[in-house]
Symmetry: C2
C-alpha cells in the first residue's frame, strides 16, 4: 500500500499528498506576502525549496496553484471550527465562523489575504467562480436552516461576515468595531429572547 515501508533496502515511497501540501502552503505564503501576482511557479518553487519542475509536476497552471492555496485555507478554517463542541448553538457557530475570517492573529491574517486574492481572481475567472458558487450555496443553506429568519437572514449574516472581514483585512475597519457590529446583527437575527446569551467578545 502507498506509504507503507517494506524494509531498509527498499526506497521509501514518495508521499505525494505531503509534497502537494508543502507546495500549496508555499503558494499560500507567497500570495499572503505579495498578492496574487506572486503565485508564479518560480516564486512558489523558491519558497518551498524545490525545483520549478517539481512544482509543475503537481500544479500545471497558475489556476491550480491558486485553488490549492485556497483549499489549504478552507481546510484550516474547518479544522479550527471542528474543535467546537458538537452541540454549539448556531449563534455561537456564526460568531466563531466570523472570527475565523478576521485577521486576529498572523495565521488568520495570512489566510484572509489569500482568500481575498482568490475572490478577486474568481471575479475574472469563471472556473474559480463556479467553485465558490457551490461552497456559497451549501453554506447559505446550512445557515438558513438554523436562523429564525431563514434565507434572507442567512444571506445578510454571511454577506456581513464577508464585508466586515474584508474591511478589517484591508485595514479599513478595526476588528473590535467589526465584532461589535456583527454581534449586534446576530442579536437582531436571533431575536430579543436570545439576547441573554450576550453579545460580548
Amino acid at each position: 500500500m502507498a506509504g507503507r515501508s517494506y524494509g531498509e533496502g527498499v526506497p521509501k515511497r514518495v508521499d505525494h499528498a505531503e509534497r502537494r501540501a508543502v507546495i500549496a502552503d508555499a503558494v499560500l505564503a507567497v500570495v499572503a506576502r505579495g498578492g496574487i501576482e506572486q503565485a508564479s511557479v518560480r516564486h512558489v518553487a523558491a519558497e518551498a525549496g524545490v525545483s520549478a519542475g517539481m512544482v509543475q509536476h503537481y500544479f500545471r497552471t497558475k489556476d491550480e496553484l491558486m485553488r490549492a492555496a485556497m483549499e489549504r485555507v478552507g481546510a484550516a478554517v474547518e479544522r479550527r471550527l471542528s474543535l467546537l463542541p458538537a452541540d454549539t448553538p448556531p449563534r455561537e457557530l456564526l460568531r466563531a465562523l466570523f472570527r475565523q475570517l478576521l485577521p486576529l492573529d498572523d495565521e488568520r491574517a495570512r489566510e484572509g489575504r489569500v482568500a481575498l486574492a482568490f475572490l478577486a481572481y474568481a471575479a475574472v475567472d469563471p472556473a474559480a467562480a463556479a467553485e465558490l458558487r457551490d461552497d456559497g450555496r451549501r453554506m447559505r443553506a446550512y445557515v438558513a436552516a438554523q436562523v429564525p429568519g431563514g434565507e434572507v437572514t442567512a444571506v445578510a449574516l454571511l454577506g456581513l461576515i464577508d464585508g466586515l472581514g474584508m474591511q478589517v483585512l484591508t485595514g479599513d475597519l478595526d476588528a473590535a468595531t467589526a465584532i461589535a457590529a456583527f454581534d449586534a446583527q446576530l442579536a437582531v437575527a436571533f431575536g430579543a429572547e436570545l439576547q441573554g446569551t450576550g453579545p460580548g467578545k
Copy 2:
C-alpha cells in the same frame, strides 16, 4: 491658459489631464478583464494605444497605475450618485449606493472587478490600505449621522454592501437575492415606521 487655442499656427497644448484619464481608463479595462496581474505598463500601453514610455511618463509604478484606475471607479460612482435629487432620504441614498456596487450592467461589472482587485491589493500593500482607510472613515461618519442606530448600524450596512457586492461579483450570489437581503436590512435599520416607503426593487 492650458488647453486654450491661440490660432492655427500655434501647436495645441497637450491636455495632460485628458491623457492621464485615457491611460487610467486603459488600466481599468485590462484589470476588469484579467485581474490585477494585467496592470503592467506593457498591457496598459497596448490597451490605450500609446507607447510604454507615455504610460510611464504619467504613472511610474504599478501602484500608481492601480490607484489611477481606482480613482476612475470612485469618480464614476460619485458621478452617478450625484444625479440623485439633493433631498433624497438617507435610506434611498444607501439603496442607490448599494446598486452602484452591484454588477447590474457591464459598466458596474467592470468597475466592481477593479474595486475588488484593488481591495485584494490593499490587503498586501500598506500605502493603498491607508488611502482606503480615509475613504472608509468618511463614509462611515456620513452614514452614521443619518441612520437611527448611529455607528454600529452604519458599520453593519456598509459591511453588508461590501460583502453582498463581492458575493454577487464573484457569482456566488444572484443580484435579486442580494437586493432583497439588503432591503430587509434597511427596513430593520430604519425601523418599522419607515417601512411604508417599501423595500421593492
